[in-house]
Subunit: 203 residues, 2 copies
Amino acid sequence: MPKTPTAQPTTRTRLVTAMSRSLQVRGFGATSMKDLLDSTGVSSGSMYHAFPGGKEELAAAAVREVGLDAAARIRRVFAARLTAADGVATIFAALARDLEAGGFRFGCPVGVPATEASAASEGIQIACDEAFDAWIAAYGDALRAEGWDDDEAVTMALSIVTAYEGAVTIARARRDTSAIFTISHDLVTRIEAGGRPTTTEDP
Amino acid sequence: MPKTPTAQPTTRTRLVTAMSRSLQVRGFGATSMKDLLDSTGVSSGSMYHAFPGGKEELAAAAVREVGLDAAARIRRVFAARLTAADGVATIFAALARDLEAGGFRFGCPVGVPATEASAASEGIQIACDEAFDAWIAAYGDALRAEGWDDDEAVTMALSIVTAYEGAVTIARARRDTSAIFTISHDLVTRIEAGGRPTTTEDP
DNA sequence: TACGTTCTGGATAGAACGTTCTAGTCAGAT
DNA sequence: ATCTGACTAGAACGTTCTATCCAGAACGTA
């Protein structure tokens, strides 16, 4: 049995953090284990003890952890704000700020491996899937709290996450955040228009 | 001077084609030059003659070529269809079909390197940027042909391309195309609602 | 103190990487 | 007949890659 069931400020945590950073910048394929070990000061023996599955298991763990962190952050934003529209605008504005601050070198720590490594590793693909689902659930709950129907909340939440990932991709290619604000404005408008703008025709 | 100024069914073309395929599946970082050379039967000497910049120059050329091809395909769809909404629905349905047919192993040949290699290579980043711009221009022209204002057409075109890239990311992570149809339906509804649904308030 | 487990350090293996290099082929111009 | 220069073949280069191994440190428990 390990030392304590509570948080470890250890090997495992340091590796997961470093891996999620590297996934954002370099992606899974271009991430070097040697760089990761050097930058964390962890030896390969320790690394393979904590993650017997090696690079792939570490990356999957990093995606899982950062995915849950981000979901919690989303929920925190909505807990602090009155409207879902405001929350979405806040999150997209934060994305624009982060991209700019990082010189567009950092992408989404889930979107990058989802794009580039999910075909090569089922573990990573599943971790990405779960992360996206957690985000959709978080947005969906915020919308339901404003009285949206279940189906419409899920659909809108999916649109938000999809738009987020697409916006990161386009903004990084352009090295320009204006697309993020355009997309965000579209989403906010649609959210404010309520849960029933695109449904079936009832005369 | 080379043989003929017309199309070459040669080294260069075969490498570009193979690279764009590999970018879709493996991305830039995980693409192996040896695999590329073996699968095309091109020797490394020939490759470095055609692309003195090596892997990076080849990848940038592949992104550029496939980006222009896709832009031409978009324009062809709109030339053959009556409405912009129909064209978008057609393109997204084709995406869903292609993803499913490839077992979700193939992504967007521009979106993948944009996500994973644009931080590492300026040449690739610029090629991705130009490809996205070409697509936005193609969609924008189709909307303008239906009477949309310039600004609104560009904004909507940006939304379409962004949604496309996001939809590929989410669908591949989920190994499920339903998100693509959800997003496509949203876009079609907004296009049919016309060029003025999200503008400023005028009482 | 002694023991068993958990964890660590670092050398090492063995393959794969992108690139470079030299020798060569082959049309067409002279 | 000779020269020229674009193009090709493929071995070899040095580096970097992930993964393995094992001796021993650290630690909780008896």
